[in-house]
C-alpha cells in the first residue's frame, strides 16, 4: 500500500475556486472525482489562469461539444488535473449557436495552443486573439464552412479540395537555409512534416506540421456501436492499444457506475505493463539504432521480439489487442507460474542489455546533454510521461489518479532532473524494471483469487459523461466520453503525444541536425494518436 499524500494543510482547490469566483460561477456539478463548474463566458481566461498559476492545476485536455440540438449551444471545456489530489476540475463555458467565438487562453496557458486551433478547425469556434490562428487538423485544401465535429456534418461526406495556402514561419539571415523532411520519411515510421531552419549544422528553428494521419476517429466514435468503439480505441495509436482501450472503458464504466471484478483489474494491470515493457525496450533499442550502435540495437530487437511473442502467448495478439472489454477483460491469464518464470528470465536479459548500453562510452557521449527540454518549458506545455519525468516533473497517472489494480501495488515513479536524451533513456529503463515488478505483483494477486469473474455485465449505459485515464507507455492518456440514448454523443481523446510534440521544437534548438532523429526517438511519440 502506498502512503496517502498528506493534503490536510492545503485547502481544497474546489473550495478556493467556489469562494474566489462565486459571482462568475453559474452552476456546479460533482460526479466521482470530477467537479464541473459552468462559468460566465467572459471570466474563463481569469479562472483558468488562476487555476494554472495559483493552484498548480495542469490543463490536461480541452475540447468543445456541439449541444445545439438539445440545449441550443456549443460548450468548451477545460479539464485541469490538480497537484497532490485525485480530482479533476472542469471549467465549462456555453457558446450560443450564432456567436462562434470564445476567448483564447493560450497567451496565459501555452498548453492550450493546439486544443484551441483544433476546436477552430473541427467546430468552427474561433479562439479570439489566438497568437497562431493557422489551420491545424484540416489542411489548407479543406473548405472554409465545413466543420467535421459539428452534429450536422455528415461523416461520409467528401468535401472537395479547395485552393489554399499554409505559411510556414520564415527564419531569415545570412547563411540560413531550410531543410524540409516528410511526410514520407526514409525509415519505416509514421508520416509528419518537419521543417528545419539551420545555420550550418545547428538548428535555429524547427516547425512541426502534423495531422497527416487524421482519420476522423472522434467523429467515427459517434457513429459506431459502443462495443465496436473499444476496437476503435485500440487502434488510435497502434502500440498503445491497451492504454487507450482501458482509458475508454473506464470512462464508460464510470458513467454506468460499474465496478469491474477484481480479477479483471489485475489482468488489465498485467496487460498495461506488458505494453509498457515492449514499448520501452523498443525505444531504448531505438536510441542505440539512432547513434549507429548496431550491436546494442540488435540485442534490444531480440528482446522486444521475445516480449511481443510473449504478448501473443498470453493474449493471442502481438499488440495485446482484443483483451479489454467494457466491464472487464475477455479472458483470464493462464499458466501464471510459467508466465512469471518467463518474465524473470526476460528481466535478467533486460538488465544485461541496459548495463551493456550504459557502459558504452560512444553511446553515452552522444546522448548526454543532447536534446534538453527544461523543466519550466515542460511544465508550461504540460509535457507528460517519461519525457516529463526526465525533466523533473513528478507526475504519473498510476500514482496521482490511481486506476485498475495500482492502488494495491507497490511501485516507484522514477524522476530525473538532467532533462536530456540520457535522462529519458534512464527513466525508461528504470520504468521497465518497475513494470516487471508490477506484473509479478499483479500475477500474485491474480493467483490468490483463481476462477473468479472476468467481466461484469454493464447493461444499458445511462446518459452522462465521465473521464477515463491511463498512464500509457508514452504518458497520460485521457478520454472524455458523453453518452446519450445509449450512444456515444462525444468522445474526446487525448494521446500523450499531443502534449509532447510541441516540446520537440524546443528540445532541438542549438542541437545539430544529425541529432534530431535521436531526440525525436527519445521522445518516442505517436503520429496517429496525435492526429486522431
Amino acid at each position: 500500500m502506498k502512503e496517502e499524500l498528506d493534503t490536510t494543510h492545503i485547502m481544497d482547490p474546489v473550495q478556493i475556486i467556489r469562494k474566489e469566483f462565486a459571482s462568475q460561477i453559474i452552476s456546479e456539478t460533482v460526479s466521482n472525482n470530477e467537479v464541473y463548474f459552468s462559468v460566465k463566458k467572459d471570466s474563463v481566461v481569469e479562472i483558468c489562469n488562476y487555476i494554472y498559476s495559483h493552484l498548480d492545476g495542469q490543463l490536461i485536455t480541452m475540447f468543445a461539444t456541439d449541444q445545439r440540438k438539445t440545449d441550443g449551444y456549443f460548450t468548451v471545456k477545460y479539464v485541469f488535473s490538480m497537484e497532490g489530489i485525485d480530482k479533476f476540475i472542469i471549467i465549462q463555458i456555453e457558446i450560443e449557436a450564432e456567436k462562434t467565438q470564445f476567448r483564447s487562453i493560450t497567451h496565459k496557458i501555452p498548453a492550450a495552443n493546439w486544443y484551441e486551433r483544433e476546436i477552430q478547425d473541427m467546430f468552427g469556434l474561433v479562439p479570439k486573439r489566438h497568437p497562431d490562428p493557422r489551420r491545424l487538423v484540416m489542411f489548407e485544401d479543406w473548405p472554409e464552412d465545413q466543420y467535421p465535429l459539428r452534429k450536422d456534418f455528415d461523416i461520409n461526406s467528401k468535401p472537395p479540395r479547395v485552393e489554399g495556402t499554409y505559411d510556414y514561419k520564415k527564419v531569415e539571415g545570412e547563411g540560413i537555409y531550410e531543410i524540409a523532411v516528410g511526410p514520407v520519411h526514409a525509415g519505416v515510421i509514421e508520416p509528419g512534416h518537419f521543417r528545419f531552419s539551420v545555420a550550418g549544422e545547428p538548428i535555429i528553428n524547427l516547425e512541426i506540421r502534423h495531422f497527416y494521419t487524421h482519420k476522423g476517429i472522434e467523429k467515427q466514435f459517434e457513429n459506431i456501436s459502443i462495443d465496436k468503439a473499444v476496437f476503435l480505441a485500440e487502434r488510435v495509436s497502434g502500440d498503445n492499444s491497451v492504454a487507450h482501450a482501458v482509458a475508454f472503458c473506464q470512462a464508460i464504466e464510470k458513467i454506468a457506475s460499474v465496478d469491474i471484478p477484481k480479477c479483471a483489474k489485475y489482468v488489465r494491470t498485467v496487460l498495461l505493463e506488458l505494453e509498457r515493457l515492449y514499448n520501452h525496450v523498443s525505444d531504448i533499442g531505438g536510441i542505440a539504432t539512432d547513434v549507429g550502435f548496431a550491436v546494442g540495437s540488435a540485442h534490444a530487437g531480440i528482446l522486444k521480439e521475445k516480449l511481443m511473442q510473449l504478448n501473443e502467448h498470453v493474449t493471442g495478439s502481438r499488440l495485446l489487442r482484443g483483451m479489454v472489454m467494457i466491464g472487464g477483460v475477455r479472458r483470464d491469464v493462464k499458466d501464471i507460474s510459467d508466465l512469471s518464470t518467463r518474465l524473470s528470465l526476460l528481466e535478467q536479459e533486460f538488465r544485461d542489455l541496459i548495463d551493456f548500453l550504459i557502459e558504452t562510452p560512444s553511446l553515452v557521449d552522444r546522448i548526454e546533454t543532447t536534446g534538453i527540454i527544461h523543466n519550466d518549458i515542460a511544465r508550461a506545455l504540460h509535457v507528460v510521461g517519461p519525457t516529463g519525468r526526465a525533466s523533473g516533473i513528478d507526475y504519473d497517472v498510476r500514482r496521482n489518479h490511481p486506476y485498475a489494480a495500482y492502488p494495491q501495488i507497490n511501485f516507484d515513479v522514477p524522476v530525473r532532473n538532467d532533462e536530456d536524451v540520457y535522462a529519458r533513456t534512464v527513466v525508461r529503463s528504470d520504468e521497465v524494471l518497475q513494470s516487471f515488478s508490477i506484473i509479478q505483483q499483479a500475477l500474485q494477486l491474480l493467483e490468490s483469487i483463481a476462477d473468479a469473474d472476468m467481466i461484469v455485465d454493464v447493461g444499458d449505459i445511462p446518459s452522462g459523461c465521465a473521464l477515463g485515464y491511463t498512464e500509457a507507455p508514452r504518458g497520460e492518456t485521457i478520454y472524455w466520453v458523453m453518452m446519450g440514448d445509449g450512444k456515444i454523443e462525444r468522445c474526446k481523446l487525448r494521446d500523450p503525444s499531443y502534449c509532447n510534440w510541441p516540446a520537440i521544437e524546443y528540445a532541438v534548438l542549438d542541437n545539430i541536425v544529425p541529432d534530431f532523429p535521436l531526440i525525436n526517438k527519445s521522445f518516442s511519440l505517436s503520429y496517429s494518436g496525435n492526429d486522431m
Binding site: 461520409n156 494521419t213 487524421h214 482519420k215 487502434r235 497502434g238 540488435a298 531480440i302 521480439e305 502481438r318
Partner: protein, 162 residues
C-alpha cells in the same frame, strides 16, 4: 512448428523467387498512408535479428525511386492522399503495390469517411492485399511472395516491358 522454422522455410522460398526475378534483392519502400502504427511495428519487426528479412533478399529503401515495391499501410487519410500519389509516381515501373493491414485493404474500422479514404486500391492499383490487424510478420512475407508471383505473371503476359 516454431516461428523460427516457419520463417526459415518461407524465407528460403522467398529468397529463390527474388533471385529468379530480381537477380539480387527486392527493394521495398514502405508508405504509411494513415495507419495506426501497428503495421509499422510489424514491418520493423521483420528487420530484427529474429526475422532478419535482409537475408532473404528483402531490402527496405529510403526513397521510392529505388523501390520495386510499395508496401502501403493505413486507409489513405485525406491528408496523405497526395503524398501517396506522389510516392507512387516517383516509383519506377513496373511497380508492385501491397496493401498491408485491414485498413489498407478496405478502410478497416476507420471506414470510408471525410478523413479516411477507405482503402489503398481506391487511389493506386494494388497487386496484393495482406489482411490482419496488424498482419503477423509471417503474413507479410507470404504477401510479398504472392506479389512476386504477380510480377512473374505480368512479365510472362508481356504486360510490362522488362
Amino acid at each position: 512448428m516454431s516461428i523460427d522454422e516457419e520463417i526459415e522455410i518461407m524465407g528460403q522460398r522467398l529468397h529463390s523467387k527474388i533471385k529468379n526475378i530480381f537477380g539480387r534483392s527486392l527493394s521495398i519502400r514502405e508508405v504509411d498512408a494513415g495507419s495506426c502504427n501497428g503495421c509499422e511495428v510489424e514491418v520493423n519487426a521483420l528487420s530484427n535479428p529474429i526475422y532478419d528479412m535482409e537475408r532473404f533478399g528483402i531490402h527496405i529503401v529510403a526513397s521510392p525511386r529505388h523501390a520495386d515495391m510499395l508496401l502501403v499501410t493505413g486507409p489513405v487519410s485525406r491528408n496523405m492522399e497526395l503524398a501517396l500519389l506522389k510516392t507512387y509516381n516517383a516509383t519506377p515501373q513496373p511497380i508492385l503495390v501491397a496493401a498491408m493491414g485491414a485498413c489498407a485493404c478496405n478502410g478497416g474500422i476507420f471506414g470510408n469517411t471525410y478523413a479516411s479514404g477507405g482503402g489503398v486500391d481506391k487511389f493506386v492499383p494494388v497487386d496484393v492485399f495482406i489482411p490482419g490487424c496488424p498482419p503477423r510478420p509471417q503474413a507479410v512475407i507470404f504477401g510479398i511472395m504472392l506479389a512476386i508471383d504477380k510480377l512473374e505473371q505480368k512479365i510472362s503476359k508481356r504486360e510490362v516491358v522488362v
